[in-house]
Amino acid sequence: MYVQKLATGIPGFDFISNGGLPKGRNTLITGTSGSAKTIFTVQFLAEGILQANENGVFITFEESPEDIRKNMHGLGWDIRKWESEGKWAFVDASPQIEGGVIIVGKFDLEGLLIRIKRAIDKVGAKRVSMDSLGAIFTQLSSIPIIRSELFRISVELKQMGVTSIMTAERTQEYGDISRYGVEEFVADNVIILRNVLEAEKRRRTLEILKFRGTNHQKGEYPFSVVPEKGIIVIPLSAIELKHKSSMVRISCGNDELDKMCGGGFFRDSIILVSGATGCGKTLMTTEFIAGGAKKDERCLLFAFEESSDQLFRNASGWSHDFEKMENEGKLRVVCTYPETTGLEEHLIRMKTEIDRFKPNRVAIDSLSALERISTIKGFREFVIDLTSFIKHQEIAGLFTATTPTLTGGTSVTETHISTITDSIILLRYVEMYGEMRRGITVLKMRGSAHNKDIREVTIDNHGMHIGKSFTNVSGILAGRPMQIPAGELDRINTLFTDEAK
């Protein structure tokens, strides 16, 4: 018999669990203190009520119902309202403030079981959450009895056909599954929530350790706890490479660059613009946006390096009126300092902005600014997820990346996304005759022919101008430009034609 899944409604979770939690079974959620276990259990019931019209029972062994109602209000869940509508019922098993408990012989948890059954009947619950089992061990201090009683409760819940989750504390992020070492034997399925400190950054991840008799995605997936939403799991490697491809070209905002790209960017492509500081990346972003607005497209700009005042001033310095575009509803600029929040939350915010504004073009200036707030692994996952998300929307995305050295060089950003992007444009400084000049080349243009020259770029108050090729210079990309004498150049040009004859 095969195991059915119950879609939890927790964003991203149903994807990595291949459809949700095993239906009618019991799942243990384990994690260290502060790993968002309680939020998971509350959200499991909340999404059931909000999305699936499935009522829930919450059994609390630790916090009082009043504390839970209060704490979860900030996540946008009005538990009190659901209680009055008969959709949510608490079973309060939290410690009572009294003269204490004395154990005087054998006992069972029949009292608790009767109350749970009654609550399930009362609201017609399909989902049950228990938080947290550790507290009942400290309350009643008889591990063998509690273990067998929990097992009995788990069996009874299964017989009632409800899908249940329960939490247990762990003492270490990587170690025993649960503190008392017995909780995991009670459940069919185990999920681990982690809150790891890595290179001074907190990183939350979720791992499905086992689903008895059914499949799931393996490994740790990052997640974030977002105000008004709760847990959002980011299903990185589970992303499918299934994007539709469009042959429609769009203008990048600069006629000459359009020609170099063989007629413009593809409408659903990701373009990476790489270059050292000050060599024209923000200008290219500005022209990309202006080019879109001119065609009545909607453009969304995420800026991580400059304030919106600065960006508007820059744009007007190149004869583009961002304010007008904004007033016409064609442009939205979102300026954030990378340090304001963690990378996972940046990702979720950016996705929310894209969902809300529904742009035709998205620009990020610069992507590499986000490198500094994350570990390399975290950043790579971020870039892959964001790129994939934008591609699914079938919109054009232009990202800039700052190279660490002035001439030549690559950045971490490029290493991670160069294979995912459809086009790569390099902006490079070229030192010639004691002067810094700028060069541009289209390194990659997936699905299209393109101009392979390295051409000179000049910038004035009308924007970017692409001039002639640096035909007599070599070694620009390596950062060591060398002049080639005219005579030598002629010889090279005829080298292969001679052989062909």
């Binding site: 004395i102 012989g105 009767i114 009654r118």
Partner: protein, 99 residues
């Protein structure tokens, strides 16, 4: 001696329920000499009372009076500990620990 108010919560007519009732009655007779009231509540019949008192384990004895309110959980077989819970004794002796 002030009067004791005790309530014992059990589930149905099980061996464990019966054992708890018998053990508790004998302790009360021997130690409290009629200065008590004991109410036995079957939560299968009165689930709302279990909810009101937030009963988890059964059997649970609640000592309502004299204060402090205390919960005494189990089949009442560890007599010494029951006495301790009822404030009729201040220390556990060696042979009280057999559960």
């Amino acid at each position: 001696m002030s009067k004791y108010v005790l309530r014992l919560y059990v589930t149905g007519n099980t061996e464990r329920s019966k054992l708890a009732i018998v053990n508790l009655r004998s302790i009360c007779e021997n130690e409290l000499h009629g200065m008590y009231s004991l109410e036995v509540i079957d939560i299968l019949e009165h689930p709302q009372l279990a909810e009101d008192e937030k009963i988890l384990a059964t059997p649970t004895l609640i000592k309502e009076l004299p204060p402090p309110i205390r919960r005494i959980i189990g089949d009442m077989s560890a007599t010494g500990k029951v006495l301790l819970g009822l404030d009729l004794k201040s220390k556990i002796s060696e042979d009280d620990n057999d559960m």
